[in-house]
């Protein structure tokens, strides 16, 4: 009689359907293969007999105690990466100084020569370019944060007071830059800043605790208006003007360019 192989018997024991009936019939007839199967079974018996120390009834609770703080850390890291508070404070300080200098420049009326006027205009534009560039960078961060936030479902409200606090700061800056851009005749920038201002105001004036639906609605608006894209286009234009002061403002560039997924 041809005996069954070890592989076939292990497969049979494991429930392998292939040749199942034939192997069963063979096992009825063959004592040696039956004994072989018993020896294989003993391995599984030994596996079952292997003790596992009981971690205790409160094990789940202990795991939670260990895991929970790390979930917190992760969340904090996520926010920190976007906010970078120290950097924001530093940037805010610089921006405040620039604004102050800029406003003071606008308000001071002293007799000047035509040459001085040209230089002053250049300086003013340069200050504007740098300051607005930084302002857009910060706005971009807030928008990105909202746009990239995970989709929310259910009824649990979302606390986004941290984002709101920053949006509030940006609204004031934004208003100043928009008015300046209008006076300077930079319509593309003024128009983008106008759109930004509305969204920033919406964010700043929303309740601290938002329903997922309200949160989604703000996010959708940012996406539908292509705000992030427009901000980036204007910012890019400013960066070019920073390196090449003679370059033209990014007039209507945002409007003329088909919106891409950002």
């Amino acid at each position: 009689m041809t005996h069954r192989t070890e592989e076939e018997l292990i497969g049979y024991r494991d429930g392998e359907p292939k040749e199942r009936a034939a192997i069963a019939a063979h096992l009825k007839e063959c004592v040696e293969c039956r004994e072989e199967l018993v020896r294989i079974e003993a391995v599984f018996g030994a596996l079952d007999a292997m003790p596992i120390p009981d971690p205790g009834e409160d094990y789940g609770e202990r795991v939670w105690q260990r895991v929970a703080p790390r979930l917190g850390e992760k969340k904090a890291r996520w926010w920190e990466a976007l906010i970078v508070p120290q950097r924001l404070v530093a940037l805010g300080g610089v921006a405040a100084l620039v604004i102050l200098a800029f406003v003071a420049g606008r308000m001071t009326r002293v007799p000047v020569t035509p040459m001085d006027q040209v230089d002053a205009a250049k300086v003013r534009e340069r200050v504007l370019v740098v300051a607005v560039g930084e302002h857009l960078g910060r706005t971009e961060m807030v928008l990105m944060e909202l746009e990239n936030a995970p989709a929310q479902k259910g009824e649990k409200t979302i606390n986004f007071s941290e984002t709101q606090r920053r949006a509030e700061d940006l609204v004031e800056e934004n208003r100043l830059y928009r008015q300046t851009a209008l006076k300077e005749g930079d319509r593309a920038m003024a128009s983008t800043l106008d759109e930004l201002e509305r969204v920033l105001l919406d964010i700043a004036n929303s309740p601290n605790e938002l329903t997922p639906a309200a949160f989604e609605s703000i996010r959708k608006r940012i996406e539908e208006q292509g705000l992030l894209f427009k901000v980036r286009v204007v910012k890019q234009g400013l960066d070019e003007r920073k390196t090449n002061p003679e370059a033209k403002p990014a007039e209507n560039q945002a409007k003329g360019t088909e919106r891409k997924k950002v």
Partner: protein
Amino acid sequence: MAEEVAVSDSMAVERTLAGDRDAYRVLVERHSRSVYRMAYRMMGNAHDAEEVVQESFLRGYQKLKQFAGNSNFGTWVYRIAANYAIDRIRQRNADEAKRETRSKPTEDSLEVDPLSQVRDMSPSPERLAGSAQLAERMKSALAELSPAERTAIVMRHWDGCGIEEIAAVLKSNPNATKNTVFRAVQKLRRSLAPYLEGNEARAMGTEG
């Protein structure tokens, strides 16, 4: 009953996704022990098993959005734990290999000579005496399996996982996975033969 558990698990998942971090606690507390059992069998000691459990729930939390909700959370986190455990075993083996020059073959080697293993472990009366020694020997026998074999036998035998499910963890195909299960059983049998087969032949002889 099973359905009831599935519903409350999925509710906890939904609440966690909606931003309620504490909802995840329910899932951790409910499934820690079963994940621990698997992790212990995979890792062979309590310290490493606990690390696998914690890391698996942490990863589960981070990947929760990917949880389709079409299987139950217990199965899902079990799979994360199996994946993590197999990586940890591989890493542990690599670290050990770096630390010491081993005289025996590496656990990844498939060319283990079963006969020489049997000879190395010729039974002494003391070793045959009790199940404690057998349990110890089983731990060593499991440790001698390759990470894939170990994962396959733990998932298949103890946890009754399907071949497809194991194949997914091993990133392999069902036929190769069946072979891995077979090799694992075969190797364990060779390792334990000195402890088992003499006794078994006597004990079971009457049934033949």
